[in-house]
């Protein structure tokens, strides 16, 4: 279990850099403000509106945080040369990668948990109650999304030999998934039907949308807390989103491992 040494060292480094504290503060701020916004804007707001606002904000914000946390993890050590010290030790390359991945995932997830734990009393004070399951579902989705993007960022970080390439790849992927992905089903629908999709888009339309990690994470979390929607078509059931999420959790980091393992570390 030598990778745990790497993970511990990496996490200690992040604590020393105050990254963990800064992120925790940021999460507390976001969670508290996000929950409070509906109350501030409308008189008959409920806590569900607060969670809804948070959900929208976090879908955009969490991947960016995860990218910042993860994209330098391996390539940063290659640029400073410290990875040569690591790899001169009795550590295999997968152990360095696994240790980095776990360390960075902790840097991502722990502040999220702290932030949303602190937000609980805020919600109770503002709205008088907090629907436990909905909130847990939301926090689970945020954790899954954060962990997924950390994994993607670490995988990309292991694949390349310069910070610039890592940043370009990871931001490119983020932009595609976050901003351009919905154009794919819409474009396909337009090409096949000659008109934009109406109120009731076909199954495949929704299925393509759910390939995005953010949607997959949300769906998986729904399934975990509320059970599987067995009446839905197969590709829209929550376990299928689980398969998609596993793809995102496995494939980028696997590519990263293979490329890192074959790389010349000079």
């Amino acid at each position: 279990m030598y990778w745990t040494d790497v993970a511990r060292k990496d996490f200690a480094d992040a604590v020393r850099s105050r990254m963990v504290w800064a992120l925790s503060g940021l999460m507390i701020l976001f969670a508290a403000i996000g929950l409070y916004i509906p109350e501030a804007t409308g008189s008959d707001a409920t806590v569900s509106d607060g969670v809804g606002v948070l959900s929208g904000v976090m879908g955009v914000f969490i991947p960016i945080v995860a990218i910042v946390v993860g994209y330098m993890s391996i390539v940063g050590e290659r640029e400073t040369g410290s990875v040569r010290m690591l790899l001169s030790l009795p550590l295999k390359r997968w152990e360095v990668l696994a240790g980095k991945l776990v360390g960075r995932a902790a840097v991502m997830v722990i502040p999220v948990l702290i932030g949303f734990a602190v937000a609980v009393p805020v919600a109770l004070a503002v709205y008088g109650d907090l629907p436990g399951t909905d909130y847990a579902e939301f926090v689970t989705a945020v954790v899954l999304l954060g962990a997924t993007f950390v994994t993607i960022a670490v995988g990309i970080s292991g694949s390349v030999d310069s910070r610039g390439k890592a940043l370009a790849l990871v931001l490119g992927l983020y932009a595609v998934l976050q901003f351009f992905w919905s154009l794919i089903p819409s474009g396909l629908y337009y090409l096949t039907n000659g008109e934009p999709p109406g109120q009731d888009p076909p199954i495949w339309f929704e299925a393509i949308n759910r390939i995005r990690p953010a949607d997959a994470a949300l769906s998986v979390s729904e399934g975990l807390w509320n059970g599987i929607s067995t009446s839905e078509p197969l590709v829209l059931q929550e376990w299928f989103a689980g398969v998609i999420l596993l793809f995102w959790l496995a494939v980028p980091v696997l590519i990263g491992y293979l490329r890192f393992d074959h790389a010349d570390i000079s």
Binding site: Y2, K9, D13, R16, S82, R84, P90, D264, I265, S266
Partner: protein, 307 residues
């Protein structure tokens, strides 16, 4: 057994050949100085020995194992001081050492190691505050964890002041006395003289010489020179000196007589031979080719060396 052995080791980057068919042997228990100017391919070679970069051809064995399947078992017996490897700025010296101790399953005391490398007070300071020399000492301490059988030190004296370099040599000697093989690289010849059992000189990716320090000096062109300035010119002095055993050649230039000697010990007999004539000695000078000169000659850095 050999601690390090390479056969026809090659590393090529596109058209550039960094290491060109290198045959290297480091005996177990010796201190081997791996010398060469910057860019000669020393670090590339070391990186191949450590399995960090993949050879383009040839083979390399470390502690009897092919570097291809260079695994935990072998690397746990090696202590490495890598060149151009930054420390973790925010982690303390103690954390650095605890990390290495943990990964190596060792039980070394970080404080004792820091004491040994001469920075006992640095344990709880983050490495980002360290001077270059302190950083290098910490790297050495990290290499010493778990009493490795083989120490691979890439430019260990870089960034050290003369005192630090002396301490580094002392530790290298101590480690060797303990039974460790030490393989270290340097681009400065003078630093290796006192500690190395053998040296290999690398230039443009190939070994241009491999010998003991004494052997290397002996093989060098020229050898020791004795130059005697006379107050008066006397016929036959050159001829007389020439007859002395160990004097290889004599040349006279005005009042100065230059004798090339087979070894430094011959300077006494040569001086006596001059004194035995009617010539009166005004001054004399003895010069031995320094290792630095030998090195420069071997690596084509000497002034007037063939381009």
């Amino acid at each position: 057994m050999l601690a390090v052995e390479t056969e026809g080791l090659i590393k090529q980057y596109g058209d550039v050949v960094a290491v060109d068919g290198l045959n290297l042997t480091v005996e177990e228990g010796e201190i081997y100085g791996f010398l060469g100017p910057n860019g000669a391919g020393k670090t590339t070679t070391i990186n191949m020995l450590l399995g960090l970069i993949h050879p383009s051809g040839g083979s390399a064995q470390v502690l009897g194992q092919e570097v291809g399947d260079h695994i935990r078992e072998v690397r746990s017996r090696i202590g490495v001081l890598p060149a151009h490897s930054e420390l973790y700025d925010r982690l303390t010296a103690r954390k650095h050492l605890e990390f290495v101790v943990g990964v190596k399953d060792a039980d070394d005391d970080p404080d004792a190691l820091l004491e040994r490398v001469g920075i006992p007070d640095a344990a709880d300071r983050p490495a980002g505050d360290f001077s270059t020399g302190m950083g290098q000492r910490l790297r050495l301490a990290m290499a010493l964890v778990d009493d490795p059988d083989l120490l691979v030190l890439d430019e260990p004296t870089s960034g050290l002041d003369p005192n630090g370099a002396r301490q580094m040599r002392r530790i290298i000697q101590e480690e060797n006395d303990r039974g460790a093989t030490v393989f270290f690289s340097s681009h400065i010849m003078d630093q290796v003289e006192s500690v190395c059992d053998r040296v290999g000189v690398l230039n443009q990716g190939t070994l241009v010489a491999e010998d003991t320090v004494v052997g290397l000096r002996d093989a060098a062109v020229g050898g020791p020179q004795l130059s005697v300035t006379l107050e008066n010119t006397v016929d036959g002095v050159a001829e007389t000196v020439q007859t002395v055993d160990g004097v290889t050649s004599v040349a006279v230039e005005g009042n100065t007589l230059r004798a090339s000697l087979a070894s430094a010990e011959m300077k006494g007999p040569a001086m006596n031979a001059v004194a035995a004539t009617d010539a009166r000695i005004a001054d004399f000078e003895f010069s031995e080719e320094s290792l630095e000169d030998v090195f420069a000659t071997l690596t084509g850095e000497a002034e007037g060396a063939t381009a």
